[in-house]
Amino acid sequence: MPAWLADLYAILDATLRLSTPLILCAMAGLFSERSGIVDISLEGKMLAGAFAAGSVAALTGSAWLALLAAIAVSMCLALVHGFACITHRGNQVVSGLAINILASGLTVVVGIAMFSRGGQTPSLASEQRFLPVDIPGVDALASVPVFGHFISAVINGHNILVYLALLSVFCTWWLVYRTRFGLRLRAVGENPLAVDTAGLSVSGLRYRALMICGALCGIAGAYLAIAQNASFVREMTAGQGYIALAALIFGKWRPVPALFACLMFGFLDAIAIRLQGVELPGIGEVPVQLIQALPYVLTVVLLAGFIGRAVAPKAIGTPFVKER
């Protein structure tokens, strides 16, 4: 295998790893926003989930229990979001922000109280984490020239949550476009009054969407703490929840385009790490920060309508008031 191809494969491999939390959060956000609830609290839910996973893994030694804990904690926060935005018709952005800030503070406060490690959870042994798995039969493919190399170098050898993230895209697509629940979900984000007069509960649908959103954010958090890394570190989400939100917007609130946006942003992240301190011939050193800022810049440019148009679900951001 030529060196450049190995390099490319390494970058693509990293892309997949770095995109995983983005993909999970983008799908999470898709459920929430398609139901008409703005969710800037992907970040906070993921962070809380990561903390829960890190602590439970450290305490029980079980990665699966940790995953469940992450999902549960993240869903609780989603419930708070729903309680504020659906039941009490609060401002959805304010509520999301509150959850982000609360998660950012509480994870450290509780972390220190529990483990006294400056907000970090204890390092996990490998059996307490989700480890890379081999896809059965991949060895047989390894000798096939291009395709086999690609599979074994890029697709194979990730932990199970990476594959779960990819699966979540398919599930999201199927749920949203192929099921009764999906039809109602899309309807409630476009015209809640139509849903209400069709005899359905707007609140019920939105709560359900937020619960799915919470679960997916929890998985993303668990991935960060017990799959990609071996412990929870304070602020370990580092804005990835917001990047996922950007990817969701970039994908125009659709699962597959959002997946590609996540992969693109993950790819940017992967080459940013790769290019650190590297002199490119003819260009010089590309500032890492520029590449890191690209997702945000691209999203701003997209939203400003300079490349295509991102039209949000029509009812997004407005609480549903039944009385006329």
Binding site: T179, R186, A187, N191, A194, A198, R324
Partner: protein, 528 residues
């Protein structure tokens, strides 16, 4: 309690269940001090078309909302096929066999007709299976009732009439036996309205009970079997349509003989009287490309009131907004108080006011004032650039308040307190404050929309008199109103708007309500 009542009514129903599809007993609903519905009784026989008429604000919408589970009645009972039922939600209304076609359609624009029809009534958890069944049923319904809509079209690409048919299909798909339509023809072209009536007739023949809520008497006469009249929250009459007339219904609706004072000029304007408004081929289109103003030509002289009659939504609002400078015209031009305005040379509302062109907007809550502002703050909306209200940018609160007090006195606004929030005044007093604000500036051109909407009867005469006084001082007045009585009482000349065009023009003295009504429906042209 409810249980026992149910039993009573069901035994009682053994005699009546064959007769009435829907029966309301003693329904009352109030909002604070406002009695929206008071002791409403209603009986509608199965397989008939029943009309409910009433003016704006008579309580029609509240009654609808009670029937469809948006509100619960404070007292009274609802009986469907003789069974006493509670309707606490849309779901329960649907289950009781009630279908409703709302004035503003309850459709998801980005969905296909099929998806909209299925929504909430999908049999299977997988769309594929539900869609197969729904498509079949939709085909059957279309065939039975001549309700043809392409099931795969997106709603946002449909004509209004097709959207309405989708709504009816939605109700029928849910096995509605009672179909309620709220002002169904308000948004339809006459051709579409005719199609709708044919559908309703077909529904009736299949045994569906139809309730038609409208304020258009012609429709009542044309299509209903029986009719009830709502006035100020009360059912004042139940009649067989065949036994009544439009005139009689109109009098029942309004509650008094129509004897509004007539304010038209007695003397003709001298022929050399200058035009203060001249409009040439003015056009404006909405986002969908439909004409809101379609080559309007119009003039208003000094000392003249020109009334613009028409069913709401036929371009009157757009005309006011363009002339007031809020919306720039798309093509064409107009000369207002000597200043020519065109696409390339627009004038904003502030300049309009400086040119003594004042505007009393149709929608006082959205345009005319700011609900969260105090009355004093609202009383300078649009005039703050005057030095006496803001000197070098600093608000002159004392003169603003003094001004507000003066306005309140001149129009008897109650309570006369400039420090109260605008929202806490009644609709009529808000309207008087806005009128006072605009008339006080001694305009040379006055654009007025719905000057007495929601105003109590005593104040109507005061407002009319003030407008007429302005006219007599030489002001040119363009009056938009959906109240024909108002148009007739004030206008020296009347133009009728229909679908963005001016379809007729008559002098005030030769106009009468019937011919105007026909013109507004553009019926005289179709007949010809």
């Amino acid at each position: 309690m409810v249980q026992s009542e149910q039993k009573v009514s069901s035994t009682h129903s053994s005699t009546s269940s064959s007769q009435f599809a829907i029966e309301l007993r003693n329904i009352s609903k109030s909002f604070g001090a406002v009695h929206a519905n008071q002791n409403i009784d209603l009986q509608v026989e199965r397989g008939t078309i029943h009309g409910i008429v009433g003016e704006n604000g008579a309580g029609k919408s509240t009654l609808m909302s009670i029937l469809y589970g948006f509100y619960q009645a404070d007292s009274g009972s609802i009986h469907i096929n003789g069974n006493h039922i509670q309707i606490n939600s849309s779901r329960e209304a649907i289950d009781a066999g009630i279908g409703m076609v709302h004035q503003h359609f309850m459709l998801v624009d980005t969905f296909s007709v099929l998806e909209n029809v299925m929504l909430g009534a999908e049999e299977h958890s997988l769309l594929k299976h539900s869609a197969i069944d729904a498509r079949k049923e939709l085909q059957r319904l279309s065939d039975t009732y001549q309700l043809s809509v392409n099931p795969d079209s997106l709603v946002e690409n449909l004509q209004v009439g097709e959207q309405q048919r989708t709504e009816i299909l939605k109700a029928l798909y849910r096995k509605a036996e009672i179909l309620i339509l709220d002002e169904p023809t308000g948004v339809l072209t006459p051709q579409e309205a005719d199609q709708l009536f044919a559908v309703l007739q077909a529904l009736k023949e299949q045994g569906v009970t139809v309730i038609l809520i409208t304020h258009k008497l012609r429709e009542i006469m044309d299509i209903t079997d029986t009719v009830s009249v709502l006035r100020q929250g009360q059912m004042v009459s139940h009649l067989n349509t065949a036994d009544t007339s439009m005139q009689a219904l109109a009098e029942l609706m309004v509650g008094r003989k129509l004897d509004t004072q007539n304010h038209q000029r007695v003397d003709a304007l001298p022929s050399e009287t200058p035009n203060r408004i001249e409009v040439f081929d003015l056009c404006l289109r909405n986002a969908a490309g439909q004409y809101r103003l379609d080559h309007i030509n119009l003039n208003v002289k000094s000392g003249e009131i020109v009334g613009v009659a028409g069913v709401a939504g036929n371009g009157q609002s757009a005309l006011l907004e363009v002339l007031a400078g809020i919306v720039p015209p798309e093509s064409g031009r107009f000369i207002i108080n000597g200043r020519e305005v065109s696409v390339s040379d627009p004038v904003d509302p502030r300049q309009m006011r400086q040119m003594r062109v004042n505007h009393v907007p149709e929608d006082r809550l959205k345009l005319g004032l700011v609900k969260a502002f105090t009355a004093a703050e609202s009383s300078v909306l649009g005039y703050l650039h005057q030095d006496k209200f803001s000197w070098r940018g600093l608000l002159q609160l004392s003169s603003i308040k003094a001004m507000c007090r003066r306005l309140m006195d001149s129009f008897d606004v109650r309570p006369g307190n400039p420090n109260l929030k605008s929202a806490s005044f009644s609709g009529g007093n808000q309207q008087k404050l806005i009128l006072a604000r605009e008339l006080d500036k001694k305009p040379e051109v006055l654009l007025v929309g719905q000057p007495t909407r929601g105003v109590d009867i005593g104040a109507i005469e005061l407002i009319h008199q003030k407008i007429v006084d302005m006219r007599d001082e030489g002001c040119a007045i363009l009056l938009v109103s959906v109240e024909l009585d108002e148009i007739l009482a004030l206008s020296d000349r009347i133009v009728v708007m229909f679908e963005g065009r001016i379809v007729a023009e008559v002098t005030g003295s030769e106009a009468d309500k019937t011919t105007l009504g026909l013109m507004m429906a553009n019926a005289h042209e179709r007949a010809a």
